[in-house]
């Protein structure tokens, strides 16, 4: 069956909205990180979809997505390292317990 672009974009939007909602409402930093990954993956999905449907002859969107996934992996590693360090310092992973980085 022939799938139109919309079949891909609607799940992407849902993923992105879930990510935003999760990022704003959850208190656990790990949950925040997961929400972040959701948003990132929805963006990656968009790249691939637009590349596939609008510019089938070129490969930029695909390559860029691979690139973004690689960077996301590294970034996740750093984020988890930071979270582990915060846990050691304050004893929990509540986002509201680290509010000292301000004016």
């Amino acid at each position: 069956m022939d799938l139109s672009m919309l079949w891909y974009l609607v799940p992407s939007v849902i993923m992105f909205a879930a990510g935003v909602y999760g990022f704003v409402t959850r208190k656990n930093m790990i949950a925040l990180l997961i929400s972040l990954e959701l948003m990132l993956n929805s963006a990656d999905l968009n790249f691939v979809v637009f590349n596939r449907f609008l510019f089938p002859g070129s490969m930029e969107g695909m390559v860029f997505t691979l690139f973004a996934i690689a960077i996301a992996a590294a970034e996740t590693a750093i984020a988890i390292a930071i979270i582990v360090n915060i846990y050691r310092a304050v004893g929990n992973t509540d986002i509201n317990s680290v509010k000292k980085m301000k004016y």
Binding site: V20, F23, L32, I95, K100
Partner: protein, 654 residues
């Protein structure tokens, strides 16, 4: 003439400057001194060769039909900005530049030799010799300049070397301020000279581009002077404040000369310049650099003749300065200051003599007399300064109050100093008599007022010189001599004194008119008995008066001072010129104009910037609460912002 020697004359002192300036720190004093003296001796020999070849060889290149020629031995393009704005560097040989070559190298050599003894124990001996070489280079470059720009460049260079040498004892605050004063005052005068050159360049631009003043020769002295009578004279049309613009240009150029030659009211730097080492005063501030102004007027003389008003201006400035400086010299205590004011007065004499010169009066005698006096004055004034240096070296003070009765202790200094005093007083048959007589004849020929006025100044000259002479060498012995017995200087210092004394006696017999005249044709000097007798009688009366006052210790000078305390103090304080300058600069310029400008800068310019910063700070304090440390709040703000942008974009696209 082969151009090797002329190039070497400029290159050698500059090379010496580089060698002594860069390598001086690694040299011993003796090596630096010997290098400096030998280099200068070679320079002396070369300059004499060139000058004597010019005057005596009879080569048709130099003298044709009895007229001495102006020869450009070389003239190369140095900077070409536009087609008509070209700066050349060259070597112009004509009577006055050849004469100056002799004067500069002679005095410079004598001073190099003398300094070997005088500066022996001073720190920075090598630096001193480097600066002397720099000065010699600049002065030679100035006198052989082929065009205005070359002259202007070297004009500033002599100013710089004068500044460096006045401030040689840079640990003394007085020397530092004197050097700054000298530089600022002469530089201020040079500003007017530059304006004059620019005005002149306007006239040059009016002449056809393919004419005599086109291309690279736009500012060439030969072209300006020879063609000026028909090319530039025809362009005199516009007038400004009662004088033609060319008159103003020539007066402005002369103002530059006023600064260098210490004419009133720009004389204030020269007495302070005496803070430099005494041999420097002899070389720069008596014999060579300060006569650059006279040389400048002589160089432009044909142009000045087109506009005689400017010559009258020069005469008036010179006459006032000569009298003023002579009066001030009568009331100074520092012997170098007496000589400094004497120098101002004598240079003013030369200026008056140039100012009264007209071709129709005695064949332009004033020009020849002025150059003659420049020559003889350089010799005897250098002698007097070097003699004063020997005195200062012996008693370690500049003031005559520390001296007295020195004739027994320093016979060589005494006799040479006496010769110098007699020469400057104009006593027959010493050199000063001949040149002063020619100048006075020229002044009487122009107008008896100038003659009478300057005869009076000549009398004052004799008085103040012999006042100093009697006070230093006669009067009463200073009791301090018992503890510290003064004695004659070493041979390096005595030899120049003796040589210059001999020159001062005999140089008057040089038939100067055969060599240097305004139109370069020979002029046969003859003594005008009336003028000569008058000036000798006036000088003798002045000397007798000085002797009556100062030969033996007595209270007559003190009583005279007490009788006219106001006049004495005023003259001693140089008629308050320095105070007037201080008042004008500090009270009027600094307090009035500069304060207003400073207020504008501080309040308007700075205020605008301060207000911008204050506004930024004001708003940042108000909104800094938004940065509360909660990452989720930031994300919300960001999200709403992005949505807002999206909505705006959507609305726009509708």
């Amino acid at each position: 003439m082969d151009i090797t020697l002329p190039i070497l004359i400029l290159a050698l002192p500059f090379t010496m400057f580089l060698i002594l300036g860069i390598g001086g720190v690694k040299m011993s004093r003796k090596l630096a001194g010997v290098l400096g003296i030998c280099g200068n001796g070679a320079l002396l020999a070369m300059a004499y060769t060139v000058a004597f070849t010019y005057f005596f060889s009879g080569n048709p290149e130099f003298i044709a039909d009895g007229i001495r020629q102006q020869v450009q031995l070389f003239d190369v393009t140095w900077l070409a900005f536009t087609e008509r704005m070209v700066v050349n560097i060259g070597f112009l040989l004509d009577p006055i530049s050849a004469m100056m070559l002799i004067v500069i190298t002679t005095i410079s050599f004598m001073v190099h030799l003398y300094s070997w003894g005088y500066m022996e124990h001073e720190p920075g001996f090598q630096r001193y010799y480097a600066f002397l070489s720099l000065f010699t280079f600049s002065m030679l470059g100035l006198v052989v300049a082929t065009n205005i720009f070359q002259m202007y460049i070297f004009w500033e260079l002599v100013g710089v070397s004068s500044y460096l040498l006045i401030g040689f004892f840079y640990k003394l605050p007085s020397a530092v301020s004197a050097s700054k004063k000298a530089f600022i005052v002469t530089r201020f005068a040079d500003l007017f000279m530059l304006i004059g050159i620019l005005v002149l360049s306007y006239f040059v631009a009016q002449t056809p581009a393919d004419g005599p003043l086109g291309g690279a020769s736009a500012f060439n002295f030969l072209m300006l002077n020879s063609e000026s009578s028909n090319v530039l004279a025809s362009t005199i049309g516009a007038t400004f404040l009662g004088g033609s613009v060319l008159t103003w240009a020539m007066i402005l150029i002369f103002v530059g000369g006023m600064g260098k030659s210490a004419m009133m009211p720009l004389h204030i730097w020269l007495p302070d310049a005496m803070e430099g080492p005494t041999p420097v005063s002899a070389l720069i501030h008596a014999a060579t650099m300060v006569v650059a102004g006279v040389y400048l007027v002589a160089r432009f003389f044909p142009l000045y003749l087109i506009v005689p008003d400017s010559l009258t201006f020069i005469t008036v400035v010179g006459a006032i300065t000569a009298f003023y400086a002579a009066v001030v010299a009568c009331c100074q205590i520092d012997i170098k200051r007496i000589l400094a004011f004497s120098t101002i007065s004598q240079i003013a004499f030369m200026m008056v003599s140039l100012g009264v010169a007209r071709p129709e009066l005695h064949d332009g005698l004033g020009y020849m007399a002025s150059m003659f006096h420049l020559f003889t004055h350089a010799m005897f004034k250098a002698l007097l300064f070097l003699g004063a240096g020997a005195l200062i070296h012996a008693v370690h003070s500049n003031n005559y109050t520390e001296m007295g009765g020195m004739r027994k202790y320093m016979p060589i200094t005494h006799w040479t100093f006496l010769i110098g005093c007699l020469a400057i007083a104009g006593i027959f048959p010493l050199s000063g008599f001949w040149s002063k007589d020619e100048m006075l004849s020229a002044m009487y020929a122009n107008n008896w007022i100038w003659g009478a006025w300057m005869t009076m100044v000549a009398g004052l000259t004799a008085f103040y010189m012999f006042r100093m002479y009697f006070r230093v060498f006669w009067w009463e012995e200073n009791p301090h001599y018992k503890e510290h017995r003064p004695h004659d200087a070493p041979w390096q210092m005595s030899l120049p004194l003796i040589f210059l004394a001999i020159v001062s006696i005999f140089s008057g017999f040089i038939p100067f008119g055969e060599f240097v005249t305004w139109n370069r044709e020979p002029y046969h000097i003859h003594i005008e008995m009336q003028v000569a007798v008058t000036s000798i009688v006036v000088a003798l009366i002045a000397i007798a008066f000085a002797g009556w006052l100062y030969l033996k210790k007595n209270d007559k000078p003190a009583r005279m001072k007490a009788a006219l305390p106001g006049l004495w103090t005023a003259a001693n304080r140089r008629f308050y010129w320095d105070e007037i300058y201080m008042f004008v600069t500090h009270k009027i310029i600094f307090n009035g104009i500069c304060k207003a400008i400073a207020w504008f800068d501080r309040h308007i310019i700075d205020g605008t910037m301060d207000a911008l910063a204050a506004m930024t700070q004001f708003f940042s304090v108000r909104i800094k609460g938004m940065q509360n440390g909660s990452v989720q709040t930031y994300v919300l703000w960001y999200f709403f912002g992005a949505v807002l942008l999206a909505v705006i974009t959507w609305i726009c696209l509708l």
